[in-house]
Symmetry: D2
Subunit: 337 residues, 4 copies
């Protein structure tokens, strides 16, 4: 039984604590830390059976009984805590992105060089039933060689403008999942990026220096071409689709719904909207990614999402931003760490 400490008791930290308790075999959460730990969260943690509740995450790193940590704190702290945890010889599961700063990611990579800890990045969508089905079809050769990859990723609503201002921009905040998905579905790297982006949802986003609508084209190392279309606001809900087209055919996934109900009336034939909220849509993926992290520790095997898998989407996001700024295709090799 692995003992896990969770660093950060915000929304995603709580999701992980609950999903480990109820769904992850061979692991238990024995400690949680958050600088803003309050009464409600303390009660919630106790009810879950978490024994040690801290305001300072360093308490977790000091605790020899803890095998692994989940870093669920704010993005700007991910890299530094990663380095500390690695030095404390804890296995690390770090929420995405590791950092918006390539130098910080480099520091984590350096720290890992001298260590034996497992380091997994939280690209949970890789563990979604739909995207896994696409990947499996590709891996099984059902669609032959990959020619075209298409990802549609649209949020149900734009985040608060205060969040937009500190988000690092849409590519680093939102599209980063889609950049990872391109790599996951194709098992190939991105070589060049061209981003067309604009602000059509909310002018306040433009005022904050960001965009809310984009189409990003990527040339891949395997010769295929990929395209992502993003919007910060789809009125019909959270739109999460993917297609991979190849020499033998195509595999496509569309959205999940609450039920398969279809109502036919004089108004039309109406099915349900996509699930609206990302936690609802991707809930199963959170327990699955941590289960595989635990498995990799116990079996001493490679983690399914490596530090390089954490790095690459940040590089692509930075290339996309440069492309947007300079209105030209940008090579990933132009982005230096």
């Amino acid at each position: 039984m692995l003992n896990i400490g969770i660093i950060g008791a915000g929304r995603i930290g709580k999701v992980h604590a609950e999903s480990i308790t109820y769904h992850v075999k061979d692991a238990q959460v024995t400690a949680i830390a958050d600088p803003f730990m309050n009464e409600e969260t303390t009660l919630w943690a106790k009810n879950l059976g978490i024994q040690n509740i801290y305001t300072d995450y360093k308490e977790i790193l000091k605790d020899d009984s803890i095998d692994a940590v989940l870093i669920c704190s704010s993005t700007d702290t991910h890299a530094d805590i990663s380095v500390e945890a690695i030095k404390a010889n804890k296995h690390v599961f770090c929420e995405k992105p590791i950092s918006q700063d390539l130098g910080k990611i480099k520091e984590v990579m350096e720290a890992l060089k001298d260590s034996n800890v497992k380091y997994q990045v939280g690209f949970n969508r890789r563990f979604d039933h739909n995207f896994e089905a696409v990947r499996n079809a590709v891996e099984e050769g059902k669609i032959g060689d990959i020619h075209i990859v298409k990802i549609t990723s649209r949020d149900p609503d734009a985040p608060p403008i205060e969040y937009v201002k500190v988000s690092g921009g849409m590519f680093l905040d939102m599209t980063i999942h889609d950049f990872d998905m391109v790599r996951y579905l194709t098992s190939s790297d991105v070589v060049e990026v061209y981003a067309a982006g604009t602000c059509l949802v909310d002018p306040a986003i433009k005022d904050a220096g960001d965009i809310d609508t984009a189409i990003i084209t990527m040339k891949l190392a395997n010769g295929a071409i990929a395209v992502i279309d993003n919007s910060r606001k789809a009125d019909y809900g959270y739109d999460q689709r993917a297609e991979v087209f190849g020499s033998k055919g195509q595999v496509a996934v569309t959205n999940d719904t609450n039920s398969t109900a279809v109502i036919s009336t004089s108004e039309g034939v109406t099915a349900e909207k996509p699930l609206y909220f990302f936690l609802e849509r991707y809930m199963e993926s959170f327990s699955k990614e941590v289960s595989l992290f635990v498995r990799a520790i116990i079996d001493d095997t490679e983690v399914p999402v490596t530090i390089n898998d954490g790095l690459q989407p940040v590089l692509i996001a930075k290339a996309a931003k440069k492309s947007l700024d300079e209105n030209r295709p940008v090579l990933l090799s132009e982005i230096t760490m």
Copy 2:
């Protein structure tokens, strides 16, 4: 080039005249007759290039240049005109049903015994792309042995009450197509029928002695069970579906629509309603059935819908009515001609 005379210039007669002119190879309409031939219809016929326009269908039967007739007159005249046409040595395509009176159908069968004419009955739905696809899948063995057949057949709206009164009842007027479909999809005969029927759409239909909603269960000669559900009014349009389930799987067809458009908004994910009108839904089948009739004449082969195919659904409809009246399963063998 076969010369065809059309007897009856009502809606279906006109449909056939136009579809032969534009879509049926090796045949042309050279005469049309209708007791109520008016100026508008005469003009329409002339524009189609029909040379002979009569009020008396006997003119068509007398014309030696005519090879075949399409009987599109009112249902109560189908059988008598069929006998006359057979005696005049014309090949006959007769709209369904041949007659609501089994004795009349017997007279046609007798007339055919001493003749060499082709006699085809107008069960056009057999030539619909969807139902053909079901039949083909069954014939190709894709679903194995047939276990269960399900047909949904719902009109978009109830007919005028004056029509209901002379229609012969829902089973003979509407379900007759579905009874034929059961035989067509299974290549098997119906042995026993149980009908549950009621009036839920319009009380005027009940006052007229008819029903508007029914579920009819049939035991087939091949051991399978079939079920039809009918309504005189589906608010969302003309609902025409079928499923055949067997030892290896199932084939199912659903409705046709004007387009594949799906609109996703905050209200839901809405596709188009089924095509509303039977002529729109089944247009292609009218030219196809006549093309095959023409083919059978030219090649001297069996017609695709025989006089027995015309008789059997009438027998089933009568058994269904008896079942409804007596609230018990009725054997087809109980229905005597």
Copy 3:
């Protein structure tokens, strides 16, 4: 926090124990009993945190700290244990069917008369997301007055022949869920039943005196007509669909799948098969039904599936069997307790 004892540690007992532990708020399993309690099950129970593990369920009934029991033992013991539990003043959740013997159900009803315990029957499909969506659409008036109800319910494979022999027949063993569904979706009672049934899947089932394929027509108290089609074996998986058609339109649900993946190749455009196994298909419904049972106890409100809801499907099943045997429609009023 309600203390629950589970009587019967077979497949369904284990499902309930796990789902209560992980998903049901305000309740915990503190005891479990099974006459064949073995080492493996004991270990499983301990790992779940269940403190008391018995071979004799009477130990549970004696324990004053236990508020409610789940009866998950073999069907023939449901009624007797129900009566004992009621007398021991335990709230009861009883797996379906209460009994195949109407006299036994009557005994439970009698016992309930003099008690204040809650008694819920385990028709879990009422708590499935798809069937709930149908019911909600009906309740919200979206389809108007109900005219036709259609349920397709086909198992992925026939049960072992030894099970068939003691199952009470397909109607009591399998269709009973569908009979309940008709009542649930329509909020109406069944008045008359006509069953057409046969053996097409496996002749051994016929030798065991049972059928494996059926179409059952029901007339409802609200004037609507319902039809169920059943097969013991659908090669493509567990086929669970429903349609309710009414004066304003139709609501329909189809099967759940593992993913939305569609693969298009030269072979066709292929989606996933329905989920194969009933536990996979209906897993969420098990925690939901028990959650509502717990809720009803705590809030002292009516349970969502009453003893009468447990009785009615047994009456319908018996009428269906009588209909099959006598080949005639049978009134529910003909079935006497």
Copy 4:
């Protein structure tokens, strides 16, 4: 009744001749010309009732009884014959593209300035039921302001390599329809183009200096972004889809099939492939575009596809080619006539 002469009796010329004869009201084909007129085509034309059959199209232009011509000759002759026909005062329906040479298109525009003839370009897909449904939804405001347009257009198989060599390149030969579709669906012009293209289907296409796989991003005058993905070969058939996403939602169309049949077996749940051949897929659009051309002549109204609608996709195609060659986004204003 309008008299029409058809110039060019190849595949598309024959399609128009038949569809006018059978489906276009108020028009008849009275002449057809083709330099390679042979016995078979002559017989075909006579059977259709076409009176005048020529090898020299100038005979048609000289014939005063002819009101309009359809130019269905080889692409390189479209512009010159257009100018001649305009000068001969014939209304002109010209197959797409008018020319691959912008100077030639300019000559046609010049000729039109001094004339009263109607000039329509053959972008038939505008008259397809699916794409019309998208356009209608957009025009009716159902999706609000347009943000993202996505078009998937993949041929079922690559053309012969000899054809590829003279085709003008994939953008001018194939994507040109999709460029027109972007303009049609959005009622907006393209301002800037970025094309990523490669050769993945057949290396012979690369040797011929062309590509077979592409993703083209466009910035539109209305602020929206559009993306087209192309392949010369989709193993599952002719893939023709479109989506328009906006502030209120999305409208999407997918492929047409021969039937709605879905076969469920142990192998999966399989629907039909898209219609394979463009003539099968778009047949109705050919009669519709000519019907509207005839209508515009008779009513003296604007044609639905103007000379500018013919020019713009050529400009976009040329910008796309320049983008591909120079690997940078290209403004349409960079392309000079």
